[in-house]
Amino acid sequence: MTFTIPIDNGDALKNAEADSQRTLYPYVTGTSIVAIKYKDGVLMASDMGGSYGSTLRYKNIERMQAIGKHSLLGASGEISDFQEILRYLDELVLNDNMWDDGNSLGPKEVHNYLTRVMYNRRNKFNPLWNTLVLGGVKNGESYLGMVSMIGVSFEDNHVATGFGNHLARPILRDEWRADLSFEEGVKLLEKCMRVLLYRDRSAINKLQIAKITEEGVTVSQPYSLKTFWEFSAFHNPTAGAQGSW
């Protein structure tokens, strides 16, 4: 998706913003994030790819990160903007810890802070080009929410970004339950990620699954999904062709 809005801010001597421009389009992007609430907390899955346009350029990008004690943030979209957001949150968590008073930022607070940041940037026509997924557990309560690059924000039992909205959410709507165990949750996420792997051209077969419970955050080591390409139609793809497509 590209915007081309030519902006002429005039003379660099007189105008401080003369040679800078607002966000026009993303460069290095991450694809879908899929996340669900389960019995003990929240599970989130993402692959480790960073695409440079149509090139699958970076294959070791961690798109999920723990925030403070109680939250986990996953991002799709522009990777450099995600890194910027991580810097904002680092400062936020640092200041929260400096109070040293027994209070701590929970997932709800972090989600709302991010919503404010995203919406404010959108209002300046200089968005952070990400869709963020924020999950966490505090005082026994699970929380899962999403914020888009224009500041649309909501909570739900299961969320997905990008292509995940179209490919993963229908599966989750049918098969999600509140009392999923850890193994069932992982299986469900893997089912979604496999469909994305087959159908989303920016997906790569190297994914991580992150779990957040009352005890804390664990991000798994990267691993691959088993895929099946031995369908007979793939063996001789042009067998049935009659000249046209």
């Binding site: 109070w99 008073d101 027994g102 209070n103 930022l105 607070e109 404010r116």
Partner: protein
């Protein structure tokens, strides 16, 4: 405290390491009418004596709601108190807007204290002449803090400030160990009894005091006159005996007490301090 050459402005230290202007500001708190706060594990009660300038006027408002989970009672210059309450409301609402979550009272109190400290270190400012009893909730339960003009703050189980607060403090000191486990009703009872101590002989009526409550499942609100009167009725049930004994004591005490109130008497209390 006598006038001396080190008390002209707040940025002058005395040779004995005192900032007299700050101490004079704390005097202003002692002149205001009494305010009391007490807390249990889950509730905080703030109460104050309603003093009116004259019979013609209404009484000063000394207790303010800062948010559903924070209230403040003031003693001293009520104008300064009003301004600080507005600051507290502003901080609270800004936090709620950004984080959709109530501002922990401990953090509000520190910001308030830092704001007061600034006024003790600028030659063009003066300290706030008001003491604040801030009651509120955070993750660890109910808390009560006292913020004073010097910029220090302390946490309390129960405290009283303003004129004749010593009587209330004596009462609270006897009973504070039980407050942690007190029920909401017991806490309100104790607050009103502590108020009664500051009235020193004057009959306690619901029109003379304002009481407010907040708790873990109860947003900050004021108790209405009827509820307060009902509580008063439970312990002012035997008025004749108490009054007879009280009158005899009062007659003896009056002679001694007459000297003291004259100093704190109405002529010396500036109209802005209530």
């Amino acid at each position: 405290m006598f006038r001396n050459q080190y008390d002209t402005d707040v940025t002058t230290w005395s040779p004995t390491g005192r900032l007299f202007q700050v101490e004079y500001a704390m005097e202003a708190v002692k002149q205001g009418s009494a305010a009391i706060g007490l807390r249990s594990r889950s509730h905080v009660v703030l109460a104050c004596v309603n003093k009116a300038q004259s019979e013609l006027s209404s009484h000063q408002r000394k207790i303010f709601k800062v948010d559903d989970h924070i209230g403040v009672a003031i003693a001293g210059l009520t104008a300064d108190g009003r301004v600080l309450s507005r600051y507290m409301r502003s901080e609270s609402i800004n936090h709620s807007f950004t984080y959709e979550s109530p501002l922990p009272v401990g953090r509000l109190v520190v910001r308030l204290a830092d704001k007061a400290q600034v006024c003790t270190q600028r030659s063009w400012k003066r300290p706030y002449g008001v003491g604040l009893l801030v009651g509120g909730l955070d993750e660890s339960g109910a808390h009560l803090y006292y913020n004073c003009p010097s910029g220090s703050y302390f946490e309390y189980q129960a405290f009283a400030i303003g004129s004749r607060s010593q009587a209330a403090k004596t009462y609270l000191e006897r009973r504070f160990e039980s407050f942690k486990e007190s029920s909401r009703e017991e806490l309100i009872n104790d607050a009103i009894l502590a108020i009664r101590e500051t009235l020193q002989g004057e009959t306690l009526k619901s029109s003379l005091c304002t009481v407010s409550v907040l708790g873990v499942d109860e947003p900050f609100h004021f108790l209405d006159q009827e509820s307060i009167q009902k509580v008063i009725d439970t312990f002012e049930v035997v008025p004749e005996e108490e009054e007879d004994a009280g009158e005899a004591d009062a007659a003896a005490a009056d002679g001694a007490a007459a000297a003291a109130p004259a100093e704190q008497g109405d002529q010396d209390v500036a109209p802005m301090e209530m």
